[in-house]
């Protein structure tokens, strides 16, 4: 029993070593690169980032890619400050941002932003005026629009979100958003929130839309991949991956991967319009 602390320490140490050994002794692939890529920012990009990271990491064992969210604002700031290698944004970086940080942007897909409601909600189409009134708080009950008798729960994103900016500018015409709107931190969270609340309305990246939420047609045009591609649905934005200066080393490899046929296919699979 006296030896217990020593044995315990030895066990912990061994555990420590074992989980690191595998990574460093792995056989290199023909590309033979190693390092870490830190990615953060736009939440719309996350499904593509995660898939790309997974494929690269399974093929090349010495590469580590971490993916975080935070929104477009976070992405731009963090890549500019050098905290991450790639900062994703769902909006074009502003000229001041480009100049201040010396950013290079890489647009690899186009994405739409559409209104969504819960599948149980009978309301499936709205005019732009109705949408503005709902979000500003003028219309507060679904009854008026033909839905259930219950107050409307608004969901919105924080001001640094690229998704919000596009929606606010183009769909809401820069109208005000009610102070009672609930905040969600990402596209994924918006989808989950609307899917769980029968009286919810929110806005989300078209790539994120699936069976758990119902898209709402705005002024007659439904937000789908087809209408975004054809240009009929006008509320769209590019998906950018920004780097501080020209990307180097494995970061450049990753950016190139996004533009490669395989990378563009991933973007298409996840519901975005590839640029190539």
């Amino acid at each position: 029993m006296k030896r217990l602390p020593v044995i315990l320490i030895a066990l912990i140490f061994t555990f420590f070593c074992l989980t690191s050994i595998g990574l460093s002794e792995a056989i290199d692939d023909f590309v033979g690169k190693k390092g870490t890529i830190k990615i953060a920012g736009g939440t719309a990009h996350i499904p593509v980032m995660k898939e790309a990271a997974k494929r690269i990491m399974t093929r090349h064992n010495n590469i580590m890619i971490t993916v975080a969210g935070g929104g477009s604002g976070v992405g731009i700031k963090q890549v500019g400050e050098g905290i991450v290698d790639i900062g994703n944004s769902g909006r074009e970086p502003k000229p001041e941002e480009m100049e201040r940080y010396g950013l290079k942007m890489h647009k690899w897909a186009i994405d739409g932003v559409g209104l969504v409601v819960n599948p149980a909600n009978p309301v499936k189409a709205l005019t732009a005026d109705q949408a503005q009134d709902i979000f500003s708080g003028k219309i507060t009950n679904w009854e008026i629009l033909g839905g259930a008798e219950h107050s409307i729960t608004l969901y919105t994103r924080d001001e640094s979100s690229g998704t919000r900016e596009v929606f606010w500018k183009k769909a809401l015409n820069k109208g005000s958003i009610s102070p009672k709107a609930l905040f969600v931190p990402s596209n994924g969270a918006m989808k989950t929130a609307v899917a769980n609340d029968p009286y919810a309305i929110g806005y989300v990246s078209v790539g994120h839309m699936d069976k758990s939420v119902s898209p709402v047609a705005l002024d007659g045009v439904a937000p789908t991949l087809k209408t975004v591609k054809s240009g009929e649905y006008k509320i769209a934005r590019g998906l950018y991956s920004n780097t501080k200066g020209d990307p180097k080393g494995i970061t450049r490899l990753f950016i190139d991967y996004l533009f490669s046929p395989e990378g563009q296919q991933i973007a298409a699979d996840k519901g975005f319009v590839p640029v190539k």
Partner: protein
């Protein structure tokens, strides 16, 4: 040799204590220094009372202070009768076996992670509120109820310890005079333990004010000034967790440090009040 060893040891221990104390001050110091530009840029009053709208250049954390206070006070108001009742049963009204089981259950509850309370709250409580009471579901009420459940076990432990620390001879004297369990509790134990119980109450309030996850997950994080319990709200703590976005030099980000200052102020005030009560009791004894 021994004497110098002693001196070295004392110095070592003293530096540990000093380092810990320095950390406490450093936290406050960092908040002030990093939040300072905010007080230059905007008027001092509007920071604490104004609304939050970065696009318009407004960085007021007034709604967040209101949100924190609404949620914390609601939680303590719900928790107080729960804790009192449970501690009464543990320290007087219940049988010996029941006391042990209850005590163990309460102590176990203090160890349950906050995030799990929030998780269950989202999927169990919020839909109920939304269907039967209206509104968004995510509200001050949802956060207040779950926070109350979070805070109750600690309050129960505090109350129980205070009640059990009452001088046994006083209790025995009451028993000898024919007082039954309830009477001994109400007329002897509680009055003597009231100081300790108040301390527990205030510290639990401090805990409720400082909690992040329950408010973040359950109160909706809306920016408006809350007006009734079914309204969504944003607490100071949730605001800090949400605003990681911005520029590290921007006023928006620095307002987060103003939140930190407000929180530091509230919880330190609670500690000071508790110390004053403690000193008064010592004076009386």
């Amino acid at each position: 040799m021994r004497a110098s060893n002693d001196a070295i040891a004392k110095g070592l221990f003293l530096s540990c204590a000093g380092a810990s104390a320095i950390i406490t001050s450093a936290v406050f110091f960092f908040m002030i220094v990093l939040g300072f530009p905010l007080f230059e840029g905007a008027s001092f009053v509007s920071i604490w009372t104004g609304k939050w709208s970065p696009y318009e250049g407004l960085y007021g954390i007034g709604p967040m202070i209101a949100g924190t206070l609404w949620i914390a006070f609601l939680a303590v108001i719900i928790s107080l009768p729960l804790s009192m009742g449970t501690s009464f049963v543990i320290t007087g009204l219940g049988g010996v076996r029941l006391r042990k089981i209850l005590f163990a259950m309460v102590r176990f509850m203090t160890g349950i992670p906050t995030v799990i309370y929030g998780f269950v709250g989202i999927f169990l409580l919020v839909p109920l509120i939304r269907e039967y009471l209206g509104g968004a579901g995510m509200s001050i009420l949802a956060a207040g109820i779950v926070l109350a459940i979070l805070v109750t076990p600690t309050m129960v432990l505090f109350f129980s310890h205070s009640l059990m620390a009452v001088n046994p001879s006083h209790v025995e004297a009451a028993r000898a005079l024919g007082a039954d369990r309830v009477q001994r509790l109400l007329y002897v134990m509680v009055p003597e333990a009231i100081g300790g119980m108040t301390t527990g109450l205030i510290l639990s309030l401090g805990r409720a004010i400082g909690d992040t996850l329950v408010a973040l997950m359950l109160a909706g994080n809306a920016l408006g000034m809350p007006e009734q319990p079914l309204d969504p709200a944003r607490s100071l703590t949730a605001h800090i967790a949400l605003v990681k976005a911005a520029d590290y030099d921007s006023l928006e980000f620095r307002s987060v440090f103003a939140c930190g200052i407000a929180l530091y102020f509230f919880t330190t005030a609670a500690v000071i009040v508790v110390r004053i009560i403690g000193r008064k009791r010592e004076g009386m004894a």
